[in-house]
């Protein structure tokens, strides 16, 4: 994956860039907003990671300018802590996701994978299948092998999200935002509890588990 990484803090940039390299990705690290605009317009990237606060040209203006020039590369914003309105501002400017600093590298990577591999034009599938697990989005039904599984609406939404992102790592905060529309960090184990309920229905009665815990990061569904 080719990544444009715009970050003015040298230590953060080095740390993240090392992580990218270890994961087998190539990142162009740019320190200045104006340079990033030139780079972003002239070269093709799979995904762009852009800090909100930049010298030269701030992150929001940078993305607005890129979008105005017809660039559709997915953008993830990095924001400082406590930015209550940052998420909405970022989305309105044309960003696709945001992450609050300081962040865990695994969280950033999970989000970039989800962004970069997003199909360009989403085809609405009616049925999703992973191994012998199948869900019908129209009838809200779930089946594993020949066994029909009864799911509560929220369990269905959670499973749907996991299956749409088969084999990708989904973090707790990604799930909270997508499934529950929660944009804060809960002090109780909301995600863990629901995952455990879901497991008891779709994994426990069968010999091969599909939901996998990724330590310190989140969960992934794959065969």
């Amino acid at each position: 994956m080719r990544i444009l990484f715009v970050e003015d803090d040298a230590r953060t940039a080095d740390y993240v860039n090392q992580g990218f390299a270890q994961a087998g990705h190539v990142a162009d690290v740019i320190r200045d907003g104006r340079d990033a605009l030139v780079h972003g317009m002239n070269e093709r990237f799979d995904v762009m990671v852009i800090d909100r606060m930049l010298p030269g040209l701030d992150g929001l203006s940078l993305v607005k300018a890129l979008r105005a020039s017809g660039n559709t590369t997915p953008v993830l914003f990095l924001t400082a802590v406590g930015g209550v309105d940052d998420r909405v501002d970022g989305l309105e400017a044309g960003g696709d996701d945001y992450l609050v600093k300081p962040f865990a590298f695994s969280e950033l990577m999970a989000r970039l994978n989800a962004l970069a591999r997003r199909p360009p034009a989403r085809t609405e599938k009616i049925k999703l299948q992973v191994a012998d697990l199948e869900i019908d989005l129209l009838r809200h039904s779930c089946r594993r092998g020949s066994v029909v599984i009864d799911l509560l609406p929220r369990e269905f939404a959670l499973l749907n999200y996991l299956m749409q992102n088969e084999s990708r790592v989904l973090t707790r905060t990604m799930m909270l935002a997508q499934v529950w529309d929660f944009h804060f960090d809960p002090q109780t184990s909301v995600v863990e509890t629901h995952i455990s309920r879901l497991r008891s229905k779709i994994d426990k009665p069968f010999d091969r588990p599909l939901i996998h815990t990724i330590r310190n990061t989140g969960y992934s569904l794959h065969a």
Binding site: V100, R122, N165, M174, V190, H194, R197
Partner: protein
């Protein structure tokens, strides 16, 4: 000094008022002077007419001697020439009188002393002449008296004006100086506040005048400001104190890891501990910044119509199983609620914090109830109550303080900012929070006002329609 006086508001007002008064005094004097002159002139003419007719009656048919005698005696009685008389024959020969010339015409006229053949005097005379038999009789009176009366009127008015001016200037200076002293005290107090002496207050005289009202209001504002500064200072101290503990722990953990590393032992657990600690510190900071941002109120510009009942149902779905896992029961009873203007994300966080507080601080077997109902026409209240051990009444106020944690909850995770965040979000929405004893347990009620009482809601809706703001895009679609 003069410049300061001129710049003083009371002095300017007094000067303006006295100038207006002087203008009116002048106008009134002018009118009075005119009226008095007219009256005096009328009287003089009446007297002249009387004199003329008395003298005229002494004329007998072809007998001038009585007439001439009477004119002579009248003239002799007026050596100072206040009154003048002249009797002339039809040929113009002077028969009697105390003047030597006079206007040839008959009727009323005004003549100078010069024209009457008197010494070069500036005096003016009012003259009446008419035929008596075949002679012409002229009687006149000096106008000096009338003019003297006029002069007296004018000069007395002028004197009054001058005295008034002097009085006004002195009064103006005194009033201005008095007001200036009080304003100087206000300015001095503000200067002290500016230097950071927040305890300074403006002395108030309790005269209940406008300056006192102003001073009282400034004092009250200073009181609130002082309170805010003090609470900010307290918060800073609390933050410093509360962050020192985890920072210390972090430092120890890292120190420990370094030592173990030197002896070749595994440090994975310690690093994990250090990371958790750093994460907790970060969460505390983020919560503090969020509170500060919410309190700044900028987010109100993003208010939209929000269905609180929907938020509560959503939260119930999310937390019912979390409570169950904890051995607790979460229930919900929500009446249909009116839509309110607000921020959906923040309101979700508000109620989530209340529910999570109950889940985290209550023991197994507790029932936690989410209820919501209308309060009157448009207002409504949401409450999260439990039948757990509750908190002592004395702690009710304190739990909303930043970083405050009950002693018994020191051991459970959390940064003590949950309820501060709740308060900040509630205040942003114009809602109030009330704690009450659920006997047993605690009941937290969030009371939302009438939707129209929330500022800007309507305007914002109009504005966002006008801008065609796109609906929020979902993440990770």
């Amino acid at each position: 000094m003069l410049r300061a006086l001129y710049r003083s508001t009371p002095f300017r007002l007094v000067t303006l008022l006295s100038m207006a008064f002087l203008a009116f005094l002048g106008l009134a004097g002018f009118i009075a002077f005119g009226l008095i002159r007219a009256e005096l002139d009328a009287r003089l003419e009446q007297q002249l007419e009387q004199t003329f007719s008395i003298i005229g009656q002494s004329y007998g048919e072809n007998d001038l001697s009585d007439l001439v005698d009477l004119v002579r005696s009248n003239a002799a009685a007026n050596p100072a020439l206040q009154r003048v008389f002249l009797l002339r024959s039809a040929t113009g020969q002077i028969l009697a009188g105390n003047i030597t010339a006079g206007p040839g015409s008959t009727g009323w006229s005004v003549a100078s002393a010069d024209a009457l053949g008197l010494a070069a005097d500036k005096e003016m005379y009012r003259i009446y002449s008419g035929p008596v038999g075949n002679t012409t009789l002229l009687v006149g009176a000096s106008l000096a008296e009338t003019e003297a009366v006029g002069a007296i009127v004018l000069s007395s008015l002028g004197l009054a004006g001058v005295l008034f001016c002097v009085f006004v200037i002195i009064a103006g200076i005194l009033i201005a100086a008095r007001a200036q002293r009080r304003m100087d005290r206000i300015a001095d107090t503000m200067a002290m506040i500016g230097r950071g002496e927040l305890a300074a207050r403006i002395p108030v005289h309790h005269n209940r005048d406008d300056l006192d009202d102003l001073s009282l209001q400034i004092n009250q504002a200073l009181e609130r400001l002082g309170g805010l500064v003090e609470s900010m200072r307290q918060v800073s101290v609390d933050i410093a104190h509360d962050l020192k503990t985890p920072l210390n722990r972090l430092s120890f953990t890292v120190q420990n890891a370094i030592e173990r590393e030197e002896t070749g032992q595994s440090v994975a657990t310690l690093l994990q501990q250090a990371q958790d600690e750093a994460r907790q510190i970060n969460a505390t900071f983020e919560a503090l910044l969020r509170i500060a941002q919410i309190e700044a109120g900028a987010r109100r510009s993003r208010f939209k119509a929000v269905a609180v009942a929907e938020i509560l149902e959503n939260l119930f779905e999310a937390y019912a199983e979390v409570a169950e896992e904890n051995g607790q029961v979460l229930t919900i009873a929500v009446e249909p609620l009116p839509e309110t203007g607000g921020d959906k994300d923040l309101l979700t966080q508000l109620f989530a914090n209340l529910i999570e507080n109950a889940i985290r601080h209550c023991s197994a077997g507790t029932t936690i109830a989410i209820t919501a109902g209308r309060q009157g026409d448009q207002a409504f209240a949401v409450s999260v109550s439990d039948n757990g051990s509750g908190i002592p009444d004395a702690e009710w106020d304190k739990v909303f303080q930043r970083l405050y944690r009950l002693d018994k909850s020191r051991s459970t995770p959390g940064h003590g900012l949950g309820l501060s965040l709740v308060t900040a979000i509630a205040e942003l929405h114009g809602a109030t929070i009330a704690l009450s004893d659920n006997s047993p347990g605690l009941c937290v009620r969030v009371i939302f006002p009438h939707a129209r009482a929330i500022p800007n809601l309507h305007d914002q809706r109009v504005a966002s329609n006008a801008l065609h703001v796109e609906p929020k895009r979902k993440l990770h679609e």
